[in-house]
């Protein structure tokens, strides 16, 4: 099992979700996050006061998949979230020791 954490542009969420859904992936967790990488922030001006806002809004998708589904899922995310411009985000892949479905007590691949 692997966990995929993808940071993407907010407006790409629907496309990424649909692409993952077509692969048969049935669940994911999404959060609104702020952060920055190479993409610069922006400047806000209120009358005479200027503030640089470094942290930009992004979406973080978290999902855990069986090892066999990993490659397809990552490819789908990278393909659909890509605009080719700076600020597209990143995908991280982490190993997962186990998973448990609380309702049925199922574990491992059956639980994801």
């Amino acid at each position: 099992m692997k966990k995929i954490e993808a940071i993407i542009k907010p407006f790409k969420l629907e496309e990424v979700k649909d692409a993952l859904h077509e692969l048969g992936i049935e669940g994911m967790t999404v959060s609104e996050v702020k952060g920055f990488g190479r993409q610069k922030g922006h400047t806000e001006i209120y009358r005479g006061s200027e503030y640089t806002v470094d942290f930009l809004p992004k979406i973080k998708i978290e999902l855990v998949v069986a090892d066999g589904a990993l490659e397809g899922a990552v490819a789908a995310i990278v393909k659909t979230a890509k605009t080719g411009k700076i600020g597209d985000g990143k995908v991280f892949i982490l190993p997962v020791e186990n998973a448990i479905r609380i309702r049925t007590d199922e574990t491992g691949d059956k639980a994801v």
Partner: protein, 527 residues
Amino acid sequence: MIKTPTSKVRLLAAIASLAMLGAVTSTLHADTNAPAAAAPAAAAPAAAPTPYPANTNAFSSASLTNQVAFLEAAHSNSDPTPTGITYESDPGHNAWMMVSAAFVLMMTLPGLALFYGGLVRSKNILSIIAMCFGITALVSLLWWAFGYSLVFGTNFTPSTGPTPLGYIFGGTEFFFFKGITSVPNNNYAFWVSQNVYAIFQLTFAIITPALIFGATAERMKFSAVMAFVLGWMFIVYFPLAHMVWGATGYMNGVWNAAAKIPAIDFAGGTVVHMSSGWTALILCLILGKRVGHGKEPMPPHSLVLTFIGTALLWVGWYGFNAGSAVAADVVAANAFTTTTLATAIGALTWPLLEWIFKGKPSVLGFCSGAVAGLVVITPACGFVNTTGAVIIGVVAGVVPFIMCTVVKNIFKYDDALDTFGVHGIGGTCGALLTGILVDPTVNGNLQAVSAGTPANAAMQNGLITAITNHTLVVAQAQAAGITIALAVVGTLILGFLVKLVIGLRPSVEAEHQGLDITDHGEEGYNH
């Protein structure tokens, strides 16, 4: 944990004793004077209503010529005294003035509260609302007890001629609203009930001190705000309002034949905006900067609230400016028109400058330009024509913009919400521009009366000569200078006095947490 309960008990006791004093004074007055005078404020509800005017049949017993002349006087907002008909107020003029008074109250609650409230950080929104509400309540009490009389009374000026005291304060005859009824006070309006006029003027006395605390936002204790206002009304507002608008005022060019400075201020460029704006500058210097100013971001927490507040201010300002004609007449109509134009042009100019120099036109720029336009047209609205209004709109968009974006950053004072930049400087521009752009054809009070009739105040005090010779701006500059001096000196004395007695600022920790919790024990937003 109750802090200093005794001082609060004492405050309540003071208010209660003030109210009792008022009741006693009114009752005494009713006992010792003709019953046709005022209905006492504390009269028992079962008492029969006192009929007024004294002779209600005057109209029907008058000649047809006098009846027509009387109605014509109401129609044209002129003096009906020559017709010999005893009269009450006119329903049309009264209706407009009651609407105007309500509009100006709306400028403070909720207009200014939202305008300022949106500009502070979310932890201080309630401190702004509490301050606006607290000032409204406190000033209403002061106005009833002493304020209206000190501003619009005249008994400090004996019949033998003006005195220094009478130039600066009005009198004592209206203390506790004594004698203020629905009958007009001819010193100020022929057709508007004096009680309506008193409440209309109260709403000006409310918004003026409330404006000050934009400069001191987010770092002045509520108790210090209230204590400062209590003193400031007596030291700055009441004398200034009397000097400019009182019938015996030192620089009331329109109404006082004995005015030493024949200056004109239609709706409060000096009284309201300069006084609050220059006070704001001195007070924010005495206070010092907010903790973290210049180091951490302090962006407005809701420009949506600021926008709504701005829109309410604009609408309410029709009561402020057009209402200052104290009649639904041709002068009000002119003020209504010039106010609209100057505001719109200000709201065009400010964001345009932002677009050119900063890259983007901002919503705060639209709001700031509109408020600046309203401020600068205020003293001029009943005295200039539409061309003058457009010029004023442009100046309003340029000068306060430079103050708020360039000058403030050079001198690094923390005028948090730009009260000085917009009201202090805008008001000063307005006072001076009124002297330059004045057009006597829009306002009969600026014109000489025809030969054979008694000379009006403007002929006697030199106002008309000044307008004819294009030297009115000198009188305007003198009035502006007196206003600045009074505001600066009064604020220096009061600011340090309040600082010494109860302190001006909350603790650094309290300021960091936000005044909503530390001063009021509640939060504006609970998610």
